[in-house]
Symmetry: D2
Subunit: 282 residues, 4 copies
Amino acid sequence: MSAAQESDAVREMRNWWRTSIIDVQPGVIRIRGYAIEDLIGRVSFPQMIWLLLRGELPGAVETRLLDAALMSAVDHGAQAPSIAIAQMAATCGVGLNNAIGSAVNVLGDVHGGAGEQAVELFDAILKRIDAGTGETPATEAALAEFVAQHGKIIPGYGHRFHPLDPRSPRLLQLVDEAAATGAISGRYARVARAVEATLERQKGRRIPMNIDGATAVIFAELGFPAPLARGLFCISRSVGILAHAWEQMQQGGRNKGPIPRQYLPSYEGPAPRSVPPAGTGG
Amino acid sequence: MSAAQESDAVREMRNWWRTSIIDVQPGVIRIRGYAIEDLIGRVSFPQMIWLLLRGELPGAVETRLLDAALMSAVDHGAQAPSIAIAQMAATCGVGLNNAIGSAVNVLGDVHGGAGEQAVELFDAILKRIDAGTGETPATEAALAEFVAQHGKIIPGYGHRFHPLDPRSPRLLQLVDEAAATGAISGRYARVARAVEATLERQKGRRIPMNIDGATAVIFAELGFPAPLARGLFCISRSVGILAHAWEQMQQGGRNKGPIPRQYLPSYEGPAPRSVPPAGTGG
Amino acid sequence: MSAAQESDAVREMRNWWRTSIIDVQPGVIRIRGYAIEDLIGRVSFPQMIWLLLRGELPGAVETRLLDAALMSAVDHGAQAPSIAIAQMAATCGVGLNNAIGSAVNVLGDVHGGAGEQAVELFDAILKRIDAGTGETPATEAALAEFVAQHGKIIPGYGHRFHPLDPRSPRLLQLVDEAAATGAISGRYARVARAVEATLERQKGRRIPMNIDGATAVIFAELGFPAPLARGLFCISRSVGILAHAWEQMQQGGRNKGPIPRQYLPSYEGPAPRSVPPAGTGG
Amino acid sequence: MSAAQESDAVREMRNWWRTSIIDVQPGVIRIRGYAIEDLIGRVSFPQMIWLLLRGELPGAVETRLLDAALMSAVDHGAQAPSIAIAQMAATCGVGLNNAIGSAVNVLGDVHGGAGEQAVELFDAILKRIDAGTGETPATEAALAEFVAQHGKIIPGYGHRFHPLDPRSPRLLQLVDEAAATGAISGRYARVARAVEATLERQKGRRIPMNIDGATAVIFAELGFPAPLARGLFCISRSVGILAHAWEQMQQGGRNKGPIPRQYLPSYEGPAPRSVPPAGTGG
């Protein structure tokens, strides 16, 4: 149907679902203008992720960094609620898609949002630096502002398990290598380290960057807006979620609770009592 | 296993899942201290909802109001994203539980959160009144503060379809009847109407209370904290979600999109182009 | 827009979302033909659930039974994956709607589907009885067929915690009382007990009806098709899910895993090894 | 805590969450035995997906095929329910993780399960061939059996939009290239084409392989069990879901329904009627 022929109603309906990402016509699928059959075999999965989200194909250095950020955060075991939920879901008689759905769903502000918040923190520091403040006072001021607004947990720093998150130094090393090529600025890596130094000075002990901080540096260096730090983490963690759901399906089990069945939760409510006789019945 | 016998590890594990809501032992289920077999047949579903959330059984007036709030918000047809999602899910080869899961999940700040925000707004007004400000200036000040923080959409007022939401006057009438018995204070109904009057004065036209505003009045009068206004709306709307998912299953359909298949979305991205030859391959 | 005036495209678009449940027009909301303002205050939440799903208002006996089935299954504590998932979700920085979404989503074939399967089993027995087979041989034959198809777990009978599920006898008592009025046939209660007797005879020990069996009897007596046994269970359990998610939010906690943090999962995979040097890099 | 020191309860608790995928200790994260810091920068995202799911690192040919299958299925526009749901969710005030959760959740038997079913169909054919039946009669017999069990929609063949799905020939070409190296057998590609030929012979017109069929060939050639065809499709489609949810967030919109607001769904239920006066009230 040509645009000229279609009625107002049809135009409104098509417009209601307008997109710049994909054009699907009978026999034709174009992603951001590229025919899908031209992309297949020439563009990798990480490059396709970039293309869908950004509109253009990434260069080699950009591909390498995005790839590293995606592959490094796939899993952290069943102590992560997302993974535990996937495993429990897998014992309830639902499909792998549903196990992923329930699990990725909980990657909220606390579980999956640290990267997004870290990008926002880095941006706040850079904004102050760009306005003429020195790196250290800019970092201190932005940190103080963050704590005043959000509390004392600094997103992207410290880890409840790891004295030093083994993923961060290696990811930062890749960022430094990329910055040396000039493909990225390295500014976010610099302020991320300034935050680390400031926290150590303030707390008297090191609170090292964790995976969320290191991937936030990568996403920000690559120009992704803050909310996509969370979105990309969801794509990454979906892999661990799928792997653990599948492993659990093969282990078997039905209605797996969080602790073995013989250890019941502790009850702290009212002691046994009788239902009052009148005025409350249905 | 007695508390004295159990090891520290077991105690920590049980404690990790402690609750005041339910005590489950072999052959025993107690809800807030009441044996389930004593509740069945004597306590209605709305009363059970109250008992689980509040810890005690409600009185007759409280039951009647909670019941009305729950039954009035069950459905608003497929123009509501939650209902449309349930119908589409039902054509994708998933269970009714999954259709409900995907649909209730989107009752977020914009779709399901107006009641919660309305309770917060009413509380802000009452706090000013309790501090000695008159009703009108307290309402104006709290409204101004709300707009400054959240923008000009006032939660609980106005409706994109209905010049007057037909549910609100009837629900308010029930609140007035309950207030006349002295079982509730009627204070929230009063400030909710003060908001309506203030908005009319400010805008020069009536922006009447909608279902979210009216149920917010009920939940607040009954003493529910603001987040439970959203939680209870989720319980209520789950019913419409289930009904429409089930109706869709009976209508049949496979992979139902949002518009009939012959009307494709409008594409606004780059024109057809070739994949660049080198340096971008996987 | 009148039906006469609208174009084919508009008609197709409206038809794509046709429904018999609700009619929403500006200022008008009709549920199954009833104006919402006429229903509010006169029809209870359980009656509204019936109206949406069935198309007509229920009688008093029907209301009482549906209400009992809904209120009895709201919760079974955190050993149920749905409840544990809700609690974990509540610590991840998502809304109550999301905690409900992730949790109700797992009420699949194993966790939430027993009622649906029990109705199917009862129907299979009744079909044989209606065809002239005696109750006992009909029950034995249908059970044998079920086991051959689905395995030896009989839906609606036995419980991993409870030697006797305290909810079932009380629910069955309500069914018997309702059958005595003639409002329901009592046929499903009869075959459900025949299944219980047959299982005891075959296994040499009692495997008593559980909540899924007892509520399946109620839903089937009331004429609900089997899949709605699961759908209604989802509505019921949503209440416990909400209550536990809310309780967890008030307890606090961030990224709550399934077991206390000091007790790590057991690892059974390959021992530490080096990444092979070549041919595997990205 | 050493294994020798831990109590039975702790052992049971750790065992309840045992895994072969990941070993997390303070300062240590090992995936299938490999230290994460050794993997980062040397193993790509698709290779990590393989490692998590399969336990070993893939070779170059395997990586290339898995990568192509993952990148080719990321999106098919808003006519796919999963994408439309993501967009609608994005207007409801939920996070990107929730939009992904609701959307990936509907990749069920009909929307996301075709690849899984196609692998099962191919396996059924190969089993007959391995037992000595010729390719054509084996294909005809397995197809007839499939239709008898599941109905006449053959998973992986035909497309409601595309006379020829542009993704399939290119993906098959990659499979052929890989088979020529000897790294994969090419058997699944062969039976997949036999199905295509048989369908054409039986129907009198070509019903060409679609994306689900072509990726099923890849996953099966690579040795993935059938359910992971669905699981991997979920990972792939999550990318399109994220991209469209994000695009919608930037377009704005609140509570986006499936069709523009002025075009209401069609109502086909009972005409307006009065609530009966007695015996039905709450």
